[in-house]
Symmetry: C2
Subunit: 364 residues, 2 copies
């Protein structure tokens, strides 16, 4: 039996593998390629579970992450973060070893990269279909055509198609709201192919985000899907409706430091350096930094709710505890926390403890 004396992130492989199987089956229905995003787990060991489910091509969020997974046997990688000339050297090095796709969204970067790369690289243009974070407005066909002109002549930059991330699906809180965000974004994406396919008949449309891939049921015409968070899911995804609490594959084991019955609070050794400061507004209007549940050994029980983390400092989490439970909790106990945002939590913890007792390493 593992002795827990400090926060550690538990990972249930059975739940994780079921999430992978379910998503792989959904993508197959839509006749697209499954190119999952690996930024959530950042782990060579977890990546093998995706390989077992038939995954051959992957997405990452940084060139450093591409280098890590290239070293672990992945040879077809899309870096879904827009690049500029600053990254030319790293891109060229990676492209000498693997099939690398990058994302660009401005003319100067296209010219600069074409001018200095030695190895061919696949290029997606980032299309903004409503999230308004990065990307060229998908409706701006004039600008799109302008960016495509140098790509028609390019020797090192091989135009692959358009990549979009409808990150505004994270604002949805039910199926209807999600559908209302996805439908117009999907139409904008498909229109790019309709209008531009004459010049680029092989162009691909690449689509991302876990909420839409988990909940939307009418995808068609897209070439690949890049969800990432679904491998673990998290408390936020349960609020959107992408999953239920039983689908969340990770849980922070956290020691109880103090109990304060006079204010219905317990204090955990689990702070911003473990969970991240990401938080969600619950349906009752309160803010939560994580749902606290009972833990027995390395197994958490979502049916036995203890409370919600109402504030976080660097190493501490303060939990508003449900009535009548506080008398059963004492300093030195260990509880579980369903994280608000599993990507950021995993990124902070840098390793997992599987529920069968094995340490699973991540990219350092």
């Amino acid at each position: 039996m593992q002795h827990i004396s400090a926060p550690i992130l538990l990972l249930n492989p059975a739940i994780c593998k079921a999430n992978i199987q379910r998503m792989a089956a959904r993508v197959k229905l839509w006749k697209g390629d499954f190119r999952p995003h690996f930024k959530t787990h950042q782990s060579a060991e977890v990546s093998e579970w995706l390989r077992e489910a038939g995954v051959e091509r992957i997405t990452v969020s940084s060139l450093k992450m591409a280098e890590y997974f290239a070293q672990h046997g992945w040879s077809d990688i899309t870096v879904a973060l827009s690049v500029t000339k600053l990254q030319a050297q790293v891109i060229d090095q990676l492209a000498s070893n693997i099939n690398l796709n990058i994302v660009v969204e401005d003319m100067e970067s296209i010219h600069a990269l074409e001018g200095c790369l030695n190895n061919p690289v696949g290029v997606f243009i980032k299309a903004d279909t409503g999230y308004h974070r990065t990307g060229v407005d998908a409706d701006d066909l004039v600008l799109m055509k302008k960016l495509l002109t140098p790509l028609q002549e390019a020797k090192k930059l091989i135009f692959m198609g358009f990549l979009t991330h409808a990150g505004n699906t994270y604002y949805a809180r039910n199926q209807q709201q999600l559908d209302d965000i996805v439908k117009p974004a999907l139409e904008k994406t498909l229109a790019l192919k309709t209008f531009l396919k004459d010049h680029f008949p092989l162009m691909q449309l690449s689509w991302g985000d876990t909420p839409s891939c988990s909940m939307y049921n009418d995808f068609y015409g897209l070439d690949e899907y890049r969800p990432g968070n679904f491998v673990f899911y998290d408390y936020t995804q349960t609020q959107i409706g992408s999953c239920t609490l039983k689908d969340v594959a990770v849980c922070m084991a956290a020691p109880v430091i103090a109990t304060h019955p006079e204010r219905n609070e317990i204090v955990l050794h689990a702070g911003a350096v473990h969970l991240s400061k990401d938080n969600i507004k619950l349906s009752d209007g309160t803010i939560s930094f994580g749902k606290v549940v009972k833990l027995s050994g390395l197994t958490w029980n979502i049916e036995e709710e203890i409370g919600e983390i109402k504030s976080l400092s660097q190493e501490h989490g303060i939990v508003s505890v449900n009535n009548n439970i506080l008398q059963h909790i004492k300093p030195g106990d260990v509880v579980g926390i369903i994280p608000v945002h599993s990507c950021l939590t995993a990124n902070l913890m840098k390793q997992f403890l599987s529920t069968d007792g094995n340490l699973i390493e991540m990219m350092k």
Copy 2:
């Protein structure tokens, strides 16, 4: 010249050393010991700058951090996080090598630790003087005396005194508000000595937090001071009034990924995995995840403001850019970000690049 192709946290040693000198001089005025908190820098190399300023005793926020600094020549360490029996083995191991102080706040943990430790350990009782996070209510002398009873007989747990952290000073936004928080907390702390010194004439009072140690001018009667953030300061501390922008010793160098003149925004490669999701409300009511300034080489210029980060996702930061500046910024530029919370930012980045071009390692 260092080529920056991904976010990296710059550290200006001259500013950092000046912050250390200034704080050491303040603590000397109050005739207390200076036991700075090392959770902000988490770096053996930066710790040497504190040693050069005469520091011999330190504070850390976890037992893991205590192990790291013990390995780097620090032999008197207080772990300012309440512990329970769960940590007994790690505590005992550390206490066999260094002078270790721990913090406790409940009877069961006192009995359990006394029962199983082989090596003597200094013990502070955590006193809550108004922050209401952890600690025994400093006004509750009945409970304090109850906790002290077993410590009078204890052989392994050596009672050192009371430790308090007036973390509510972070709510202050000017000198008056800070004084109004510190005065009653200081009085409560001093009262503990007044009422209990007959039984424990050697008891010490240990005081923490950067805002009060930077701004309060009338400390007396305390035995030691444990500020930590002051080595770097950050954007939050400038809002409280602990420092000015020119005192902030760290700045994130971040590539510009995209520019969006139509909505006065630029997008940076600098997200929650680099900066943390901590944010502050500025005086105009808007939220900022970091102040963006011009960067020339490795030198940032606080006089040349570019804008404020208005939202963060995992790898991206979106900046609201001041008028007329956007035309001078293009993808592939590198800008600087004064972080909202330098402790969390450093914890994520795991290393610094000094402004004279050297990599400075941190605890991994």
